[in-house]
Subunit: 96 residues, 2 copies
DNA sequence: TTCCTAATTAGGAAAAACCCTAAATGCAAG
DNA sequence: CTTGCATTTAGGGTTTTTCCTAATTAGGAA
């Protein structure tokens, strides 16, 4: 949960996640979409992999990254537990 | 969105959010729940405030922090857009 | 083997985050 | 005004993040 939210806390990494929403992409194609060096993007991909958000698969000389939805749902579960299960308490009378 | 996910990326701050789920709490009570100094907790509260996740309200000498659900829903919306699900419904967040 | 391309790891500088102690602020009561 | 309590801000040391360039690994083709 800790590395997961930390991975989501960088705009480049969130953008990568959005890109992978349509399907797996090669590392070079991902790196080419940003205005930073390839090694830097590799670092972000490693952070996402560490968080379980993506997984790489080799195909010859190219490496494709695929989005791992279940990790996203893990973060989703935390946020839903916040918005979905709110108990009424004494200074909290003005709910919608 | 950037400060929002960054705020969520620290375990102490996520725990504060969980604590505030039941209602506003005084700064001192929040700080007392952790094994760190009060100024450090104040720093975390500032990070949460910066992200729009909590808002402080003064009552005499004590300051109470209240959870701001709409910011949570903002993060929720991003994750839901990834999994492809719909936006959170209005009547879904007020039941116990 | 050698060469080329795809991609990563290594090393390090700059910036930010984290947590502490000490000092300051704000409010209320005497 | 002065004291006291609740809380925040200031300053600084240590660790982590972020990004770069240079070097390295890995696979395919000649």
């Amino acid at each position: 949960m800790n590395t997961l939210f930390k991975a989501l806390s960088h705009p480049v990494r969130r953008r990568i996640i959005e890109m992978l929403r349509r399907g797996p992409m090669a590392s070079g194609d991902i790196a080419g979409a940003f205005d930073m060096t390839w090694p830097t993007v590799t670092g972000h991909l490693n952070a996402l992999k560490e968080a379980g958000l993506v997984s790489p698969e080799r195909d010859g000389t190219t490496i494709r990254y695929r989005l791992d939805i279940s990790a996203v749902e893990e973060a989703l579960a935390f946020l839903l537990s916040i918005t979905g299960a709110r108990a009424p308490a004494d200074g909290d009378k003005d709910r919608d």
